[in-house]
Assembly symmetry: C2
Homo-oligomer: 408 residues x 2
Amino acid sequence: MRFSKTFIKTLRTAPKDEIATNGALLTRAGYIHKEMAGVYDYLPLGLRVIENIKGVIREELNKLGCEEIQMSALQNPEPWEKTGRFSDQEVDIWFKTELASGGKLGLAPTHEEPITTMLKSYISSYKDLPLYVYQFQTKFRNELRAKSGILRGREFLMKDLYSFHTSEEDLDKFYAEVEQAYNRIFTRLGIGEDTFETFASGGIFSKYSHEFQTVLPVGEDTIYYNGDKSVVLNKEVLEDETLADLGVTREELTETTAAEVGNIFKLKFKYSEPLGLKYIDENNAQQNIYMGCYGIGVSRVMGVIVERFADDKGLVWPEEVAPYKYYLVGIGEEGRAVAEKFYQGREDEVLFDDRNVRPGEKFADADLMGLPYRIVISDKTLAEDAAEITNRATGENKLINLSELNNL
Amino acid sequence: MRFSKTFIKTLRTAPKDEIATNGALLTRAGYIHKEMAGVYDYLPLGLRVIENIKGVIREELNKLGCEEIQMSALQNPEPWEKTGRFSDQEVDIWFKTELASGGKLGLAPTHEEPITTMLKSYISSYKDLPLYVYQFQTKFRNELRAKSGILRGREFLMKDLYSFHTSEEDLDKFYAEVEQAYNRIFTRLGIGEDTFETFASGGIFSKYSHEFQTVLPVGEDTIYYNGDKSVVLNKEVLEDETLADLGVTREELTETTAAEVGNIFKLKFKYSEPLGLKYIDENNAQQNIYMGCYGIGVSRVMGVIVERFADDKGLVWPEEVAPYKYYLVGIGEEGRAVAEKFYQGREDEVLFDDRNVRPGEKFADADLMGLPYRIVISDKTLAEDAAEITNRATGENKLINLSELNNL
C-alpha cells in the first residue's frame, strides 16, 4: 500500500477518555477509531490485523475438520427462554430491542442456544456425529464499564466453536485436540510464551473448564502458577479442593494478572438437553448429545498483542499479525526510485511511505505503526549498493545488499 | 469438500412460513437457516457464496483505489441527531437499544453519519482528498414485514462505499467510475444482462440518483424501460418532467418488476455540512466536502441470483458465485477410486459426494445444490476412459477423456 493513497494518518493524541494503552496507541497509529466506550471502528490497517488473526485461527480449526458458518446477531428469545438465559437476572449483559411487528429480541452475547437449535435440522443419527462448527461473529455485551480499549468491548469480534458428540470419550478427545490447536494459534500469534492454559470453574456438568490466559500487567483476571508453570489456575478456583486435585500448595503459587484470550468448556448436556438436540444410536434408542464450546476473543487478542509488545515508541507487531511486513522509505531521488522499484509487485506486504514529508516524520510513524521491518534506501545506503533494514522489535539494524533485498 | 464430512444435508421441506422461492430453495439445499422472518444464518455453502460475492465486489472496488474498513453496528445517537435521522418519524426502521450505563443506542441501518464524523479525524486539507472508503457490514432494519427470504432482511449484509471530494466535477468523475465498476460486478455475478441502471429520485442536492435493478418477477420495485432499454426509470420518478429530461414518452415505456441490487447517490453536502466535515483549500479557505454513497446489497444479490436462475430441480449458480465449481460423484468401486484421485488437491473447488447413498439421491442433491458442473465417473464412463460432465445451467452433457478431466 502507498501511504499517499490511504486516508490513514497517525494522530498526535487519542481521545481524552481513552485511558487504555492499546486503545490509545491503536488510535494514534491509525488502526482503530473509537465510536464510544467499548465500541470501535477498524480502519484499513486494523482490519488487516483482524483478518490476519482470523486467518491463523481458521487455518488451525479447519485442520481439525471444523466447518465455518455465520449465525445471526438478532436473537429470537424462544431458545434462550428454554435455558433460562433470556432473563436479565441470569445474563446481565444483554442488549435488547423490539421488533416493529411486536416482540422482544436480543443481540447475541454468545450463540449456544441458536446453534444447538439450528442443528436439530441437521443431526438425527449417530452417523451425523461428531461435528464441529465455528464462526467469527460480532458479539454484543452491555458492559456497565468498558475502559480497556479493545480488551473489553461492548461490540467485539469472537471466534466461537461448538462441538457435538455421541460420547464423553469423543468429547474429551476433541477437547484435547482443541487445546493443542489453541497452543499452536497463540504461538503463531506471538503470545505463546506468555499464554497459559488455566483451570477455571466448570459448571453443572464439569468440575473445571479451561481458560487461555496471557500474562499482562493490565489484565483484568488474576491467575496463580507454580514454579515451572506446569500448574496454572484462576482465582475463582483457588480453594483447598482444587489445590488437592492439582497437587500443589498455596505457598508454591505465585499471583499475577492476566487477560483471558480463549476458553474451552465441556458443556455436555447443558444446552442439548433443554433444547432437545438428540440423536438415534445404533440400537435405535434416542440419546442426548455431548457438547463442547471453545472461544477466542479475536479483537481482544489484538489488544493483548498490543499491550504485550508495545514500547515507548509505539506498536510492535509479530509477523503473522502485522498488517504489512515492511515499512519502506526512500530518501533522495535515487533512493525513492529504487524504493519504488522494490515496491512493485509487493503491494500486499509493503507499506510504502511515499509521502512528501521529512524522513524523521517517516521514521517516527514507522515506529508508531509497528510493522516488523523498516527498509530505508538512501544515497548513503546506495553508495554501498545496499538498503538498511531495521527490526522493529529488537532494534537490530543492518545493511543488506540490493540483490539480497530484491530476493526478500 | 467431502460431503460425508460436512454437517449439511439437503432437506425435504423448508419452514412453512418460508413463502419466498429463494428462502425455501436455499434452506432445502442447506445454504441458509431461518432464525426468524428476515433473519438468517449462513451455513458453510451459503457463507462461501457470500464470500465469493464479497470477493468480486472487493476486487473491483480496490481497482478504483477504495479502502476497506469496518464500522461498528452500535450507534451513538449524537451524529444522527445532527442530521435529524435518529428520529423514528424520519427513519422508521431503527432497531434501538439501551446502554446499561444509561443512554439510547441504535443499530446501524446505514453508515453515512458515523463515517462522515469519523473522517473529521483524517481529513483537513485538499491534499487529503479525494478518498473512497467502503465496508462489508451487517445492517439492521426493523421492517414491519419480511417475507421475501434474503431479498429483504431485518439483518443483512451490505457493501457501502462513501466518497469524498473537493469539487462536483471530481464527484461526477468518480460516480461514473463506480457506475462502470458496478456494471462489471453485476456482469461477473451473472446478472449483468438483467440488471439496469435506472433513474431514481434524488434528494435535496441532486435531481436523480441511480439504482441498479435486476428484472425479476418477484421484485418489489416497478421499473419502466423503452424499446432498446437505453432509458430505464423507477416508478417514483415516472412523471412529465422526468420523461422530458430523458426524451421518452410514457407510451414508449414498458412496465416490469425488479429487485434493487445497488444504488448510487450524489449526496454532495447533505451529511458533510450538518456534521461539519470540511477541508482547507489551496487558498487557506474552509470548504464543504462533496460526498457520494454507493451501496450493494450483498445478501440480497445472493437471493436475486437464486430467483433469476433457479429451475424446478433447484439452485443454479453462476461460476464466480458458486460455493464449489464441481459436484463429483464416483459410482462403483473403480469409479469411486478415480473420483477420489481427481478430488485430491482440488478440495477448494470440488464438492465430493462420497456418501453411501444411491446415485439417484446424489444426482437429485447435485441438481438442488446447483454447482455449475456435475462430474460422474462410473464403470460405464471408465469403459470409454472418460468421465461424464453435465452443465447444471444448460443440462448439456458430454463425456470427457480422463486426461482432459485431470487438466480441469
